[in-house]
Symmetry: C2
Subunit: 526 residues, 2 copies
């Protein structure tokens, strides 16, 4: 990383916390999702002196980090988070895990005790560094407040690589005053590793030679322009293209290339890769099954399949596709792709399928879909010819991302409608995030698929041979005693809502929710 | 640790998961707080074959670990928890942190991918070992399913030391079948380090020599019998006795020694220790301020004060007190201590003080109080002459323990009333736990002090000199836009409730809640 001094308000006496704020703002990090505590009060005071920084409270740290993930996916830049010591960080780790898998930029500021206080092991003391590392790309404990802007510059550069940067801020590093004689350091983006010409040539030769090739895409390769290139290669050469099983963001809908996701199951992904000679990874990882099962290989590609990494997630993926198109002599057609409008479901009892089809049919132009529907998923299959939209999904399998991610996406894109397709069991993990929807008046419609069970797990139970689950299994997998009432939960958190159980009820509620601004929740009994 | 083979159902073919269940039950670990996922399905199936194991679902892992903490505090033995890979563990870490500070026994079973699947880095993969260590006393990754009972034996012994044991269970260790030819291994308790005679003599000499001595107690030293010894020493010799600032459990109320807690603040704890010559730690840690502040020492005892560790939390604390009583020639009076009944507050608007006084006055015999009231605390001051009860409080400063801890205490003691004094901001962290109250029909009354702010932090803001908080500070510290409606939240989770704002309304609601069995929530507007 190159650090260049840039002009700002130098030669001032200010606290380390003020300097940290200035440094974040110098990198245009101007949103801070927060749940602060006592050890962060000087940073809170510094934020309070900076009206340019938008501070957004989450009532639980999983909301904070999940919102930062959603924000990053839609804005391609990091938000800051503010977390309270080890337990506050710990509460945010699960959604940091999802963000890590989505390659989202994020800068965590984690408060810690003052340097001299730390060895006294007062009750809130814990090993923050060890807790941070598994989910972070980069971790630093601030040790010199006069260099705090350099730490932020590096945190920013690492986050844009992309990944999660965690800065641990001891309280005295925040509260002590210093005279800063130098302008703020500014991070520059880390250089991307160049693509290898030999690899491009190898893939090109395989395609031209008529071998059965699959391109597996994720990250920036799933934005409209890159997708168009990939689809152009597909149409001209007969390669197949898939998005990887879970992705941070897909630009999707009418006029865009209708890519499918490669399921991370033996039943789903396995057959699609049968007979494939070469699998080309473009930002993606080699496809494996999400979980392991007895006597089954984790790898989904057949052993004979050659796996070629054309570009990693930290390389220029659109360029990789463009170069490959050149290599195989494909010209990309810039005219919109013709697709047909989706059908509307008819009336009757509400099903998962009907909800997903109706949402696809009624989707506002440039909506943002957050998909944590899990066993109630299906929207994606109907969405290729819905109006143009962005599709965000759970990436790391850590449930509880939907409500927070929707909040972050809405903060990043205040003029776009956000629709969160939410499984009920997962939604309960970070239900507190609905309060943030209300507080910030975010334009989010939450659709809860209320099936009153961990439905994923019922399927998994049958796979292990327990066909008739007994009392203990039922007590751990069913959510129906008592039934969750999502309209009351939403009401308790300040979000208006309705409960529907027929197609026509859902249709009316959806129209009403899409016709207004601000948060709304629909509990769909399915 | 000594491991002795004990007779059970040996020479059987069974899965590792079945063997793990058997091994837990052999140690009388017969409650499992759980939120399982796919990688734990074989363990779920094994639990399903063991009706003796009581499986209790939490809708979030912070509920699971907090409940295990509450259970351990009241039963003095570990519950098992069942957690889903790294993110599931991460979600449970904050309340593991509290449990660690309470010296609660706990055995976590954390599922992981099968051994061969792990290097494939499928989406839910993370570094579980690193995440577990900061909050665990002992961590083991199960590597040999034929030795799984030995792992459990050691996990149990370590948990009783006391502390948190974390067993990482790769899926294939659970699903593979083996013929177990040996009886189940059984853990024996780790030997306690003996007390040092010289230390007892040194403390005894200081007391007899008329030096100003303070005994600081926690853990088993706060049970009725040990407290009576400590109070006997106090009355006979003039030493002072305090409980440490936060404690896992205090046996409290009429007829028991009315010990005070030593506040972990400069303003509270500092003056109480002024002029003290010797501070004797009996399970306790040296008192320090909870947080650091500029230009203040973290240690609360004056530099001249000699600090003597008579016994650590893993030693026999009641014995330490009895020995010290002998050393100073004090005979302990076994007759109940005379105390007076607390006064009832009069009518009028509801205040924090009125709530706490009324709860103390109306307390059912042998009730269990869970105290996460934070700035609304005060109950403890009125409780010394309330009916005999147990007092559990937040120990590690990781908010969100109240609702789960109450659940665990109620599971451990089904015939006793549990009353959870709950700050609103903290309660929102693990509000999902109310659903477990309803599902298990736990006899818990939750009293929410609804002040619509992180009131602790307002006080802290003023300490850092920000007297007139601006928009950003208000947005991060206030919970009033929108107001949380706890009666709706409770209703959404299946718990009956009422909202009260006067003394007489609260009084009636409290009487009604105490007069019935099962969960109830009172939102006290204060």
């Amino acid at each position: 990383m190159v650090i260049a001094a840039v002009s700002t308000s130098a030669t001032q006496s200010m606290t380390g916390a003020d300097r940290l704020c200035d440094a974040l703002l110098a990198h245009d990090v101007d949103v801070c999702f927060a749940n602060p505590g006592t050890s962060e009060m000087h940073f809170v005071a510094a934020l309070d002196r900076q009206p340019r920084m938008r501070c957004i409270l989450g009532l639980f740290e999983g909301v904070v980090t999940g919102a930062a993930d959603g924000y990053a996916r839609m804005s391609d830049r990091p938000a800051a988070t503010l977390l309270h010591l080890g337990p506050g960080l710990a509460n945010g780790l699960a959604n940091m895990h999802n963000a890590r898998r989505a390659h989202s930029p994020m800068i965590n500021i984690v408060g810690d005790h003052a340097v001299e206080h730390l060895p006294l092991d007062s009750p809130l003391t814990s090993d923050i560094d060890s807790l941070a590392r598994p989910m972070s790309r980069w971790v630093r404990r601030i040790a010199d407040p006069t260099r705090i802007d350099h730490d932020v510059a590096e945190a920013w550069a690492q986050s844009m690589a992309p990944g999660i940067s965690t800065l641990i801020l001891p309280a005295d590093m925040a509260w002590n005053e210093h005279v800063y004689r130098e302008d703020l350091a500014r991070g520059e983006r880390l250089p991307q590793a160049p693509l290898e010409q030999a690899t491009v040539a190898r893939v090109g030769a395989a395609i031209r030679g008529g071998r059965k090739v699959v391109l597996l895409l994720t990250g920036a390769a799933l934005r409209e322009g890159a997708l168009r290139i990939a689809d152009g290669i597909r149409r001209a050469t007969g390669v197949e293209i898939y998005a990887q099983g879970s992705n941070g963001r897909i630009e999707r809908g009418r006029g865009r290339a209708p890519i499918a996701k490669l399921p991370m199951t033996h039943e789903g992904g396995g057959p699609l890769l049968r007979g494939v000679d070469m699998l080309v990874l473009i930002g993606a990882k080699e496809p494996v099954s999400f979980f392991a099962y007895p006597n089954r290989q984790g790898r989904l590609a057949p052993p004979s399949c050659e796996i070629v990494r054309l570009a990693g997630p930290d390389q220029d993926l659109p360029h990789a596709l463009a170069w490959l198109a050149d290599e195989v002599g494909v010209k990309i057609d810039a005219s919109p792709m013709a697709t047909s409008a989706p059908e509307n479901p008819s009336n009757g009892a509400l099903t998962v399928d009907a909800v997903n089809r109706l949402v696809a049919a009624r989707l506002p132009e440039q909506a943002i879909i957050c998909d944590e529907a899990l066993t109630s998923s299906g929207f994606f299959d109907y969405s290729y010819d819905a109006p143009p939209h962005d599709y965000l999904q759970i990436t790391g399998g850590a449930i509880g991302i939907g409500i927070p991610m929707a909040a972050g996406a809405a903060v990043a894109c205040p003029d776009r409608k956000v629709i969160n397709l939410q499984a009920d069991g997962s939604g309960m993990y970070t239900v507190q995030g609905l309060w943030t929807h209300a507080r910030e008046n975010l334009d989010v419609v939450t659709i809860v698929f209320s099936n009153r069970s961990y439905a994923t797990l019922w399927g998994e139970m049958s796979k292990v041979g327990a066909q008739t689950p007994g009392r203990n299994a039922q007590r751990m997998l069913q959510l129906d005693q008592p039934e969750l009432d999502w309209t009351k939960l939403a009401g308790g958190l300040g979000v208006e809502s309705s409960r529907v159980s027929t197609v026509s009820e859902f249709s009316r509620a959806l129209d009403a929710a899409l016709g207004r601004r601000g948060p709304y929740l629909i509990e769909a009994i399915v």
